[in-house]
């Protein structure tokens, strides 16, 4: 039997990336500052993980300005939503097998 661990998405191995994705699948868009506040992480840490998800094409970035302040919004792509669902399915299978 094939080990379901292999089906787990490497991109979601990191807890923070998994949390970012969880937020973006239930919200149409989320801005950088709200993400930072909710996850309670530093700018640099959050930015690097967002970058990684962007590279996988799991999220899309929308840059805008509110007055002079940059306001960057993030949204989950269709590909990202699918990957997230498959990751959850894999987690479910692992739990079932361990029972």
């Amino acid at each position: 039997m094939k080990l379901p661990f292999e089906k787990l998405d490497k991109a979601f191995e990191n807890r923070l990336r998994l949390q970012i994705m969880s937020i973006l699948v239930v919200n149409e868009r989320y801005d950088f500052n709200s993400l930072k506040e909710l996850l309670d992480v530093t700018d640099g840490n959050l930015a690097s993980h967002l970058k990684a998800l962007e590279k996988e094409q799991y999220i899309t970035v929308h840059k805008a300005f509110l007055g002079r302040k940059p306001n960057t919004n993030y949204a989950a792509s269709e590909q990202g939503k699918l990957a997230f669902k498959q990751h959850l399915d894999a987690l479910e299978q692992i739990i079932k097998q361990q029972k």
Binding site: R15, L18, Q19, I94, Q98
Partner: protein, 210 residues
């Protein structure tokens, strides 16, 4: 990857989905207190509108045929504003306290969304009611305030606890009943803003506050 890791992953997914999209720091206790303020205000208003006549006797609005009506009207508006200010202030203070306990930001994305969702129907209804009072349609106050408040709650319920949704539906039904029986407006108002707030506030207090 161990089982505990998976459990932690799932817990954090769930928590982030909820915390990012819902404002879960609304205080149930503030609902109970708002209901009590409304009851006090209603008893006071009752003596002004209906005089001290029998409770179940035929009723009509005293303010419409008494010369001193502007003064009474101002008193009623004063009571209503007093109840509103006391309820909103209590709500804000208790919600800030609960948000601190839960570590949720009071002025974040979810609370702003919640406020916006509530304010659109509330201000629409409030403006409409003021316009109708100004034009002399006093009978519309009780049904319209209940209906618009109910709509505001339903509109807000997607951002917070689901219980609010049913409170909204109950208030809309009461508002429609109040429109059918205009002479009993204050009674429906007491049920909708007083009793239901106390009932739903207690339910939410026992479910989420502790």
């Amino acid at each position: 990857m161990k089982e505990s890791d998976i459990q932690n992953d799932l817990t954090s997914i769930r928590s982030m989905m909820e915390r990012s999209s819902k404002f879960i720091s609304l205080s149930g206790l503030s609902g109970v207190l708002a209901g009590i303020y409304a009851l006090i205000g209603a008893v006071w208003a009752y003596t002004i509108v209906y005089g001290t006549g029998g409770f179940f006797s035929y009723r009509d609005y005293v303010i419409e045929n008494v010369p001193a009506s502007p003064e009474r009207l101002m008193k009623l508006i004063g009571i209503a504003l007093g109840v509103l200010v006391a309820s909103v202030t209590t709500g804000i203070i208790l919600t800030i306290r609960k948000a601190r306990q839960k570590g949720q930001s009071v002025w974040g994305r979810t609370s702003r969304q919640l406020l916006y969702n509530m304010c659109v129907p509330l201000f629409t209804g409030g403006a409409l009611i003021l316009i109708l009072i100004w034009r002399g349609y006093f009978g519309v106050v009780a049904p319209a305030s209940l209906i618009f408040y109910g709509l505001a709650l339903i509109n807000a319920s997607s951002i917070t606890f689901k219980d609010i949704h049913y409170l909204g539906i109950s208030d809309i039904l009461l508002g429609l009943l109040a429109a059918i029986m205009p002479g009993y407006g204050l009674i429906f108002w007491v049920i909708g803003f007083g009793l239901l707030h106390i009932v739903y506030g207690s339910v939410m207090y026992f479910k989420y506050d502790r």
